[in-house]
């Protein structure tokens, strides 16, 4: 598929999403969530389409997309691992666990592995503070991280 065709396809899919959700009160965040769900990130070419549909400026849409940690401007790896770096996890050796994970995956935080297998991200609290240290792999919660659980995570993202 040519670049232009791919871009047209993104535009039409985005337009369908916007159309479905723009009647909501305060529709911008729900639309961005849905677009990211659809494409794995918020493609730059969707921003002017959203702006036009909601009758707001391109700058405003850009401002919102860049304000929130969740929205990506490029796709993540096949898996996304979020490791909690907040205080309750720190009190259970979370910093050391985070370092071990980073080493095992061979990437730092905010980075994606070269084989595109996994993106490693910090998260500030998963509400699993009584089973710390905690992480979330593709939306699945994992508590009381230890060497064995790290090994399981590494196996899963590499498989």
């Amino acid at each position: 598929m040519s670049m232009q065709a791919a871009s047209t396809q993104i535009a039409s899919r985005a337009a369908a999403i916007i159309d479905e959700m723009k009647a909501l009160e305060g529709p911008l965040l729900p639309i961005l969530h849905e677009i990211q769900e659809e494409f794995g990130h918020v493609p730059a070419e969707t921003l002017p389409i959203i702006a036009k549909a909601l009758n707001i400026s391109n700058a405003e849409v850009h401002g919102v997309v860049t304000f929130y940690h969740d929205y990506r401007n490029h796709p993540a790896g096949r898996h996304v691992l979020k490791v909690c770096r907040a205080e309750a996890c720190q009190s259970m050796g979370g910093d050391a666990i985070a370092a071990q994970i980073s080493q095992a995956l061979g990437i730092g935080f905010h980075e994606t592995a070269k084989d595109n297998s996994v993106t490693l991200e910090p998260v500030y609290c998963l509400g699993l503070c009584a089973c710390a240290p905690a992480a979330m792999l593709d939306g699945e919660v994992i508590g009381r991280l230890d060497a064995d659980k790290i090994e399981e995570i590494v196996q899963e993202v590499r498989s």
């Binding site: 969530h33 940690h69 969740d70 009190s91 259970m92 500030y124 503070c129 089973c131 919660v141």
Partner: protein
């Protein structure tokens, strides 16, 4: 008779393997041809025992835990279906001291019922508060809530009834009820537990708020880090709508009220109420200056009640049992119960709902059982990333809004993180500044720039660069942030920083020269 086996669906239990346990139990039921069903309940909040499996027997519920998938076959061999004895038996869960010592008002059903069964909810006292509210005038409902002494459980402690009265008294063509479920503070999980374990109590509380203030639309703004809570709330809203609890005629009354579940996008500052309102409107989560108060000009410029999950979830019990019943619990101006969340390095971590007034020492040492590592408790952070670090010498402080304020701390959303003696308080102070820098919305200078300068200055202290001068600078900076910031993010970051400096000065002392020279 069909035997009911309860296996929690709470995120905390799932994080410890509850899904695998549920699969193994289902497998055993099938292979053994037993007449049994599985209910995925919420958590009772005893996280060191999760996944905690319970079975309803003729003599009452019997609990087992912590269960892993490999224990399941032996549990059935021991006669799980009839509450048989096993090495992981816990007996009657209500008799476990951690639960027996609690006063569960808001969390009365959490961990007991099927979270998505409205029938279960009704059978356990649900919807009585809403029924009472429907039969009263809005002003009387507001008065009940005011008289109960209920204060904002999100941390600010503002009287809930007074907020509601302002919205009731403000005339507008549209009003909103917004539930702040952006529970971003580390050590807190009460909102998550109630949304996953008893979602109807929140729906009921919001509906009562709507009837009391004349609002017809509600929003629950849940953080994206809580996908299970989002899913449960969405399903519960659908169930409530189908049953006529939500809709144009709430429970057959002339009152209309409906709600939507909205998901945040990973910004901690959106837990601040005005920032949350901007986010709901589809804007950057920038803090608004007050006044105008949200109660007068809130969501889309309309009068808005914005309350924390636990505040709203405590309203049904107030409306069911009456203001006096709720008010009879507590101390001073802190009335009713508070779900204390014991987290981090605690032997018995979990949710402990109790009347205000327990001392910090009772909570940490007796209820929490000290540290899981077995080392001495060095510090506890109360109230999340914006809360102060308390040393053992302040463990006699009673859990009460005013008592904590008097010790330069705050109870916040009542989360307590326990640290053992391996904690480095300089590192914790630095993290507080770093977190503020990551999450600052950028609107006001003390928070936006102060937090970054704070990290740099604490780093200088750590590297022994003019430590005394830099310590004075951090103190001065904290003063500017505390009094000059627009909201609690910049304004309260000084609490963890200054409490670490004041209570643990040894961690900020320059390293002896001889050692530094090595």
């Amino acid at each position: 008779m069909t035997v009911t086996i309860y296996i929690p669906r709470d995120s905390g239990a799932l994080a410890l393997g509850a899904e695998k346990v549920a699969k193994a139990v289902a497998q055993e039921i099938e292979t053994r041809g037993l007449d049994a069903k599985i209910v995925r309940n919420g958590s009772r909040g005893l996280y060191w025992l999760e996944p905690m499996v319970e079975v309803a027997t003729e003599a009452g519920r019997v609990a087992y835990g912590p269960i892993s998938a490999k224990d399941v076959a032996s549990l059935f061999d021991a006669g799980l279906a009839s509450g048989g004895e096993h090495k992981l038996s816990l007996g009657d869960p209500e008799k476990i001291p951690f639960l027996a010592k609690q006063t569960r008002l808001t969390f009365a059903r959490c961990g007991i019922t099927d979270p998505l069964s409205l029938e279960d909810y009704r059978n356990h006292g649900g919807l009585k508060g809403l029924e009472n509210a429907i039969a009263m005038t809005p002003a009387d409902v507001v008065k009940q809530v005011t008289d109960s002494g209920l204060r904002g459980r999100g941390g600010a402690g503002f009287p809930t009834g007074i907020k509601w009265k302002t919205v009731l008294d403000t005339t507008a063509d549209r009003k909103y009820i917004v539930c702040n479920a952006d529970e971003g503070d580390s050590a807190t999980f009460a909102d998550r537990m109630i949304m996953e374990g008893d979602p109807f109590v929140l729906i009921e509380g919001m509906t009562i708020a709507g009837i009391a203030t004349g609002a017809t639309k509600g929003f629950v703004y849940i953080r994206s880090e809580y996908p299970h809570a989002v899913a449960t709330m969405q399903k519960a809203v659908e169930v409530a709508r189908k049953a006529g609890v939500l809709g144009v005629n709430v429970m057959g009354s002339p009152n209309a009220f409906d709600m939507e579940i909205r998901v945040g996008a990973g910004a901690y500052v959106c837990g601040e109420e005005t920032s949350l309102l901007n986010s709901l409107e589809g804007k950057r989560g920038i803090v608004r200056a007050k006044p105008p108060l949200p109660a007068i000009q809130g969501l889309f410029g309309k009068p808005t009640v914005i309350n924390n999950v636990i505040s709203l979830a405590s309203v049904p019990i107030v409306m069911d049992r009456g203001a006096q019943h709720y008010k009879d619990f507590g101390m001073g101006r802190s009335r009713g119960t508070i779900p204390i969340q014991i987290a981090g390095n605690a032997k018995h971590g979990g949710l402990f709902e109790a009347a205000f007034g327990l001392t910090l020492g009772e909570i940490v040492d007796e209820i929490g059982g000290g540290t899981v590592t077995g080392r001495p408790v060095k510090a506890v952070q109360v109230g999340g990333p914006l809360g102060a670090y308390f040393p053992r010498s302040l463990f006699d402080t009673p859990f009460d809004y005013e008592a904590f304020a008097a010790k330069d701390g705050l109870i916040g959303h009542a989360g307590i993180t326990v640290f053992d003696d391996s904690a480095d308080m300089l590192k914790q102070a630095r993290f507080a500044m770093e977190f503020c820098a990551i999450e600052s919305c950028g609107k006001c200078t003390p928070c936006r720039i102060g937090s970054t300068r704070g990290v740099e200055t604490i780093d200088k202290i750590a590297h022994n660069i003019e430590p005394e001068k830099n310590l004075a600078l951090v103190t001065d900076l904290c003063n500017t942030m505390k009094f000059g910031s627009l909201c609690a993010l910049g304004g309260f970051t000084p609490y963890p920083v200054m409490s670490a400096i004041n209570h643990f000065p040894e961690d900020f002392r320059p390293t002896p020269v001889a050692q530094a020279a090595e």
